[in-house]
Symmetry: C2
Subunit: 330 residues, 2 copies
């Protein structure tokens, strides 16, 4: 038998309403009785029935978080950032892992929407049309983190376009003139589109004539990196390569190692993301590091502000983290 507010009220000789006011710290009550009640609640092992509370309250402080179940190692960092700010501002996170299977996906979303939510935050999810419809119809605040989705849904991410200038500038300054971009070919991904465009424009800026063959691979996977090296063969037609995610870059690195290509002597690699994974390779990967924790924090503060429209875009900065995979040429 669970303890309710009424049990406490009885013991304290009060009404349930008074106990509620005290425990939620709202309305009027005397500090003296409050102390007594709080102590009783503690003693009796009382836990608020959140369902009942939710039901009687109009406004929700629960934020749903959709995380892809296919393991992305930066999701944790975003969540960590969110969690800190959330507890600070009195929000609660409801985390749901979402599968790629369409059937299960809808089930997850439905069960999320069954809870009264303030908003749904999607971490790096390329959302499918039918799933999106469901979310849109549910008229709930939506926010995409790490995945830039211009004009579809407000998002918090790095500036994927200008990020490529930072990267290309760096490689250029290190003497590289033949540069490939691996893992950003997906035409349906806004992020990939922005990265390709930024890449091309950045090359143009440096008067490097751009070779479309050097943009290869669309899947965010280890295998993409391995495949890329195999495809271009030895000797490679470029001196530097940009991996569009850490896991891709590790594929590039291992692919190179397997093919007898020395990194960074024969091939320079720079990776986008810069999660802790990049510390585990030899050499350590040089990275355009995204500030995932910051994205998480901003997600919460943005939602707290609530002035969101589909074209709201908040950018976080990237940092060039030196590793050992980029060589200075000549």
């Amino acid at each position: 038998m669970t303890i309710t507010i009424k049990d406490i009220a009885n013991r304290a000789g009060l009404s349930a309403a008074s106990v509620s006011r005290i425990l939620t710290n709202r309305g009027r009550f005397s500090e003296k009785t409050a102390q007594h009640v709080r102590q009783l609640a503690d003693e009796m092992g009382y836990y608020k029935n959140q369902s009942a509370a939710d039901l009687s309250q109009k406004e929700s402080r629960v934020i749903g978080v959709l995380v892809p179940i296919t393991h992305t190692n930066f999701a944790d960092e975003i969540i960590k950032g969110m969690q800190g700010k959330a507890t600070e501002l009195g929000y609660e996170l409801l985390i749901a892992f979402i599968a790629s299977d369409n059937q299960q996906q809808l089930k997850t979303i439905k069960s999320l929407l069954s809870r009264q939510l303030l908003a749904v935050v999607m971490l790096a999810i390329e959302i499918k049309d039918n799933t999106f419809k469901v979310l849109e119809n549910a008229d709930i605040l939506l926010l995409s983190v790490s995945n830039q989705l211009n004009n579809v849904m407000p998002s918090i991410s790095s500036d994927n376009y200008s990020m490529m200038f930072t990267i290309v500038d760096y490689l250029y300054q290190k003497g590289h003139r033949q540069i490939a971009l691996i893992g950003a070919s997906d035409q349906h991904s806004t992020v990939a589109n922005l990265r390709r465009q930024g890449f091309i424009d950045a090359l143009l800026k440096h008067k490097i004539n751009y070779n479309p063959d050097f943009i290869y691979g669309d899947e965010n996977a280890y295998q993409t990196g391995l495949n890329a090296i195999q495809k271009f063969g030895k000797p490679l037609p470029f001196t530097a390569v940009i991996g569009s995610a850490d896991i891709i870059s590790i594929g590039l690195l291992n692919g190179a190692k397997d093919a007898g290509i020395k990194v960074p002597d024969d091939l320079s690699i720079i990776t986008i993301d810069g999660t802790e994974l990049t510390e585990l390779t030899r050499p350590i990967l040089t990275a355009a590091q995204q500030n995932f924790a910051k994205m998480g924090e901003l997600a919460i503060t943005t939602l707290a502000g609530q002035k969101l429209s589909p074209d709201t875009v908040v950018f976080t900065n990237i940092t060039l983290k030196q590793g050992g995979t980029v060589a200075q040429l000549d």
Copy 2:
């Protein structure tokens, strides 16, 4: 304004009770009206208010899952396993990331307990005494997954004792007689204790005299592996080393590489866990692979069975996954 069961009832010319019966598929109703109601619900964009449902139901089908926020790469696999079985059996997972900070930890637990839960599942969490007290007092089903906690709480894990026999047998058969164990020194961890004991007994079985110095390092971290190599120096006094977690083993591997020790020629490494991380190294790590997905599935089925006592222990099998880090001696 959100759609409730009443709105549907009005439109259908029914009572709320009938709609509820239809949508929950309980009690009596005619298939004809049911179809109509289901269609209306769909059209009107109805989502059950789970809070209200929870409130009026005695039995909960929600299982809380406590996941350490410090990123363990097998947690995802366990969750994946749990999620599959959970949706299959009609349970719902409520995932909460738990920090190491004591204050936040209690906050997380409290908010978990505020939801009406069937059980709390803890993934690889070394629980602190005061946190455990809170959970224990809340009298809720508890289950520990991947962390074997004999007699404290029912648990699902590999058999950490006999696992060491499998590993040592394998290394012995490959000709190794000097073997170290890294990352299992923590005296307060049941798992570590079992692994040490198993390790020692397995050596004894092969009449290898056991050197206590060869058991080193207590933290489940990359740095532990690096440190171990540094501590023992070159040449290493052992020919094989067991890393008590993938991340430790990667530390060992990189530490060896940094020290100019060749793997597997100068040092054989076998890792415990065998997550996808082990595929990313060169050479690929040989692993005693735990079946995390299976643990997740068993967690749900065990809870569904509900015949749990603190000394319930369910074991999953381990698999020896050949990589390239163990050499055949002589």
